[in-house]
Amino acid sequence: MQEDKPKKITHGGRNLILLGFFATLIATITTGISLVIYHNSGDIYLDRSRPGFLPDQEEIEQKDENEADEVYDFSKVEKLTKETLGEYLEKLEEEIKTVDAYEKPFDMEILSDEHFGIPAE
């Protein structure tokens, strides 16, 4: 008659809890690191998918219109002639106009005492 070998006791439940705990810990740490990089690199300030920073309807329509327009690219020009440089200047002037059309970027008045209703000393 064979003697019964002692059964190996496994701790499946405990191991599952440990696995869950470490998985959550690693996910939390890596997410934290990602958020720190996202913030410190300044990408957060360019991210317009954040709540409150989403582009409005007018902006989306304007963007669609611009994308529909054929974008000039000087690298596609084959020969360097007076005409191609003339076209370059013409198209660059158009771009300059669109930059200038953005009126008073980072205007100082918006952070002035008067704007906030703070009286002069």
């Binding site: 440089l85 003339g86 980072f106």
Partner: protein, 167 residues
Amino acid sequence: MKKKWIFSYYIILVLFCLVPTGASAISEGQKNAISENCLSIKDSLRITQRVDSRTRVYLGGKFETILTKFIKPLNVKLIENNISDLGLIENQSSFVEARAVFSSDFIRYQQSLEELIGINCEAEPEIFYDKLLITRERRRLMSQDISKIKKIILNNVQLVTELRSNI
């Protein structure tokens, strides 16, 4: 002699008291105005934050287009055609540098603005005002950066016009 020393110490002590410390000296009227208008000031700052984000993305995109579709390809084409124009190469370097400054200044400005919004202006109007002054200075730098980039672009137009007349 001893009296003279004591008098000197007294004068120095008084001068030290008069020298402003970390917080800027703002009047009681200004403190009250900040505390009373705190909510509306914060709302206004949040709107500014959104508008500035839009401005940065718009202008950043435009500057990127000008660099990648105009300035860089033109210089590549000049090299391919064995035409040496140091002015245009310097112009490209200046543009790249100015654009990098514009991007880093924007991050510093936005960080300052974010900190400003985070300050409890109702309870700490002096600290808020100090931060407001710093944020204003950083905003002024943003405005200067854009003016500098515009000048570089106009310089590019001038240089290309000269090149065109020489071809």
